[in-house]
């Protein structure tokens, strides 16, 4: 490890000159001592303070997980939102974490733009912070939904019903196939065979149409000899 840090990579030498300079090291340390100093946090057992910090942050995480589980189980009403204030906790946290992410990106970008040769360790934490902050931020649009289990519906996957890529010409014909070329025997199972609504009260016709939107209209159009029944 000390060998790699002592000689800077060839592509970096023309920028800032040699990294290892006598003035950077005070005292007469051997390479092994330096390596031990640097690697100590990784090679030793975690200290009591570390365990306490882990316990505190895990407790906070568990609290969050428990609360969000409760919220998803019971409803978004567990948050203090109302008819006029549709977003509060969610958008605040979303923007907060996006802001943290921006900060990490900004630190990393500025250090790169100013060609700081010592930026690597700072960049690593800054960029890690960005990634995890963005993950945290992404959580909030997900859990703020009234029905988060349907969150994938915002993705533009093709299904014919929705906009964007959804308008691919695949799903609609499949739906029509289902409606038009269903064997009569099956159709009788899925929807009532006769159209009682046509002879019964208008209310029944509406209910009938709710079961099978297409057929009564076609039947009507045929009855009247023109296609006005499809205007709906």
């Amino acid at each position: 490890m000390i060998g790699t840090t002592a000689s800077a990579p060839a592509w970096d030498t023309h920028l800032a000159g040699p990294i290892a300079d006598d003035t950077w090291l005070e005292g007469d340390l051997s390479a092994r001592q330096i390596a031990d100093d640097i690697a100590r946090p990784l090679e030793n057992r975690p200290t009591a303070g570390w365990w306490m910090c882990l316990a505190a942050s895990s407790a906070a995480l568990m609290l969050g997980v428990g609360m969000v589980t409760y919220q998803i189980a019971v409803g978004i009403g567990t948050w203090g939102l109302n008819n006029a204030v549709g977003w509060a906790f969610d958008i605040t946290n979303f923007v907060f974490w996006i802001g943290i992410g921006h900060a990490g990106t900004l630190i990393s970008a500025i250090l790169l733009l100013f060609r700081q040769s010592w930026r690597t360790s700072v960049n690593r934490s800054a960029e890690a912070m960005t990634i995890f902050a963005v993950l945290c931020a992404a959580l909030f649009p997900l859990i703020h939904m009234g029905r988060p289990w349907l969150a994938f519906w915002v993705m533009p996957y093709p299904n014919g019903a929705r906009s964007a890529v959804g308008q691919l010409p695949i799903a609609a014909p499949v739906g029509r196939l289902r409606d038009q070329h269903l064997p009569d025997r099956l159709r009788g199972v899925l929807v009532p065979r006769h159209d009682p609504g046509l002879r019964a009260a208008p209310r029944s016709l509406v209910r009938h149409q709710a079961i099978d939107l297409r057929r009564p209209q076609l039947r009507l159009g045929r009855q009247r000899g023109r296609g006005r029944g499809t205007r709906r």
């Binding site: 019971v74 409803g75 978004i76 009403g77 203090g80 939102l81 109302n82 008819n83 006029a84 204030v85 549709g86 977003w87 649009p141 703020h144 939904m145 009234g146 029905r147 988060p148 349907l150 969150a151 519906w153 915002v154 019903a161 929705r162 906009s163 609504g197 046509l198 208008p202 209310r203 016709l205 509406v206 209910r207 149409q209 009507l220 009247r224 029944g229 205007r231 709906r232």
Partner: protein, 657 residues
């Protein structure tokens, strides 16, 4: 002129004024009185006395709740304890059945035959719409059985109609035809008999020997009131609310959650006091005060009411029920202790009350906290004079902002449904709010949720005050989804759950909705309602959708929404569909007036009109062309299909109101 007081002196004077103004036969019609409220206070006090003395063997209580209604309940209790038999006939347990010896469960009115004469000459029939759900018997059947009469009540009713009502009309020859028609229409009108007495002569109504004592009595009372008021003493006025009336509807969750048109209060009553009194007492909205008079004392939360007379505290009746059922039990404070019998008549006002701050707080479930329009042209007014001169509201035909949409693409070629609401006719009675709730399966959410501003009403009545605190002007504006042609909600939905129909409706597709609430955030009218919880089949919301009996109020034509989806006014799309289905079944076009929304149907003032804006001859198209017609927040370019007709006022010259 109408006398609101239950007192002979005031009524004598009002009668004289009416006679002098020539109101008889023009606005006061003695031949067709309203019979909707009947009772005899004069007979009540002696009856209670007789009960106390043990002169009465049995009391049958039907259709009233004397245990809660009558002050001096102790005397009534003493009285009823001296009655060997108290029989209560009611369709639900209440305070009176608690103390009755025998309770005879009556049918619900939807299970029973009934008739009524709300206005003289106007007879109404009620027939059962459902087989009785429980082991009950109609009260009338019980009475017939007890007197040993053979026919059951339906036959008795039919016989009564044959002999008493059919015989008084000439239009229909056969009783069967008459009966079937009356049953079909639900109502039949009989020409009232010619007036027996000539209209009250002015001379008789204004006779000095009756009028002078009446005026003197009023003056004496005014004098007494003046000396009794001030110095920390107030007058208490108790009143019925439009929702619960005297408390008979206390167990109806729709009505408990119906905002009072003036205060916007739900789930409880309040002591309405003037702003100056609130300042003097050092109380704010929701601080509980103790109102004490000589014989009664009630604790109620304060509501600071602009326009309230400074010497007067107003408190609504009908609350504080102890045995009203799971919804109405213990909601609000009982104001009946303030109702006294004075000279055999019930007095709804008490002098010499003191108000003391208790230090407790009881939050008021108000649905509208802001009262001013802040100068925005949301409610438009026009004076009668200027209406005659130039009948155009300020916002009528306002210049619309630039549209980013291709207008030809959004043009509607078939129907274009719209609504027009006349603010002059609207009195804020809120019948439309309940009608909408009933028609569209709108959940009741309870006091806690209303306190969190999560009431679900698709249609609300906005109330605005203007002018001084002492004499504010008040306007009401029904507000629901405006069905914008350029709807801000539609452009932001990530899953296209709210879309525009080819007939101009802003549609909400519950199945697609994932509940981002983006649409509600973007709606400038704030009319979208979110299902914060699962309101159906949830014991936390045990109001109208929790069990199968409650769920019988639900409309089978409208889906019950699940939690996590947005909802809002659909302009009764199920009724539009039914209207179009009738068109299809009968091979004709939809006629203007065929389709009526629930709010329109319920509006007693005919302020709400629904129809096809593309039909130039429809009533709505004519109303939209009217100079009073305007759109709310037109300056935002939302192009709503709901329009309003500016409120016409006729201010007195030089007056500020």
């Amino acid at each position: 002129m109408v006398s609101g007081a239950n007192d002979v002196a005031t009524q004598t004077v009002v009668n004289a004024i009416n006679a002098l103004l020539g109101n008889y036969e023009t606005t006061v019609d003695l031949r067709v009185p309203s019979l909707q409220k009947q009772g005899d206070d004069d007979a009540l006090a002696p009856a209670i006395e007789e009960m106390r003395h043990g002169d009465i063997g049995a009391v049958i209580v039907y259709g009233v709740n004397p245990r809660i209604r009558l002050r001096g309940r102790r005397r009534l209790r003493d009285g009823s304890e001296n009655v060997p038999l108290v029989v209560a006939m009611t369709d639900r347990p209440d305070e009176t059945t608690e103390h009755a010896d025998i309770v005879c469960p009556d049918h619900h009115y939807l299970e029973a035959w009934a008739d009524a004469e709300p206005v003289q000459g106007c007879y109404s029939l009620g027939q059962p719409t459902i087989r009785p759900l429980f082991d009950t018997r109609a009260a009338q059947d019980s009475l017939l059985k007890w007197i040993g009469a053979t026919p059951d009540f339906p036959s008795y009713l039919r016989q009564f109609w044959r002999s008493e009502i059919f015989s008084r009309q000439r239009r229909v020859g056969s009783f069967d035809a008459f009966w079937n028609q009356a049953l079909h229409d639900g109502v039949t009108e009989i020409e009232p008999p010619p007036a027996h007495s000539t209209p009250l002569p002015v001379a008789q109504a204004t006779r000095a020997d009756t009028l002078r004592p009446a005026i003197r009595a009023i003056e004496t009372r005014q004098q007494a009131a003046r000396t009794a008021l001030g110095g920390g003493r107030y007058e208490v006025v108790v009143h019925e609310t439009i929702a619960l009336r005297d408390g008979r509807h206390a167990n109806n969750p729709w009505l408990q959650e119906l905002p009072d048109p003036i205060t916007s209060l739900t789930w409880g009553n309040c002591a309405a006091i003037a702003p100056s009194v609130a300042a003097a007492l050092g109380v704010a909205n929701g601080d509980v005060i103790s109102i004490a008079t000589a014989g009664a004392h009630v604790d109620a939360p304060v509501y600071i009411q602009r326009g309230q007379a400074p010497g007067c505290v107003a408190l609504a009746l009908g609350y504080g029920r102890t045995h009203a059922g799971k919804v109405g039990r213990g909601v609000g404070a009982n104001a009946f202790p303030f109702v006294r019998l004075v000279d055999g008549r019930r007095e709804y006002r008490v002098l010499n009350a003191t108000l003391t701050k208790t230090g407790r707080r009881e939050p008021l479930a108000l649905t509208q906290l802001h009262q001013a329009l802040e100068g925005r042209p949301i409610v438009q007014e026009i004076s009668l004079a200027s209406l005659h001169a130039q009948p155009v509201a300020a916002a009528h035909g306002a210049e619309l902002p630039l549209s980013l949409w291709d207008e030809s693409e959004s043009a509607h070629h078939g129907h274009l449904w719209g609504m027009s609401i006349d603010l002059t006719a609207c009195t804020g009675c809120s019948a439309c709010v309940v009608a909408c709730q009933a028609e569209n399966n709108v959940p009741v959410v309870g006091k806690d949720e209303v306190l969190r501003a999560r009431e679900m009403h698709w249609l609300r009545i906005d109330r605005y005050h203007a002018g001084s605190d002492d004499r504010p002007q008040t306007v009401f504006q029904p507000m629901m989804c405006q069905h914008c042609n350029h709807a801000p909600c539609e452009t932001v939905c990530p899953v296209l759950a709210t879309v525009h129909s080819s007939e101009g409706l802003n549609q909400q597709v519950y199945n697609r909705c994932i509940g981002t609430r983006y649409c509600a955030n973007n709606c400038p009218y704030k009319v979208r309602r979110f299902n914060w919880f699962q309101y159906a089949n949830n014991a936390r919301f045990d109001y109208t959708m929790n069990d199968r009996l409650e769920a019988m109020v639900l409309n089978p034509d409208v889906v019950v929404r699940s939690r996590g989806v947005m909802e809002k006014c659909s302009l009764c799309t199920q009724r539009i569909q039914a209207g179009k289905a009738a068109r299809d079944a009968e091979h004709r076009d939809v006629r203007d007036g065929d389709i009526r929304t629930a709010c329109q149907q319920a509006c007693p003032a005919d302020a709400i009109v629904f129809g096809d804006l593309n039909d130039p001859h429809s009533r709505i198209a004519q109303l939209v062309r009217d100079g009073r017609s305007y759109h709310v927040l037109d300056e935002l370019g939302t192009r709503p299909n709901v329009s309003y007709l500016a409120k016409v006022r006729n201010p007195l010259e030089g007056s500020h109101s």
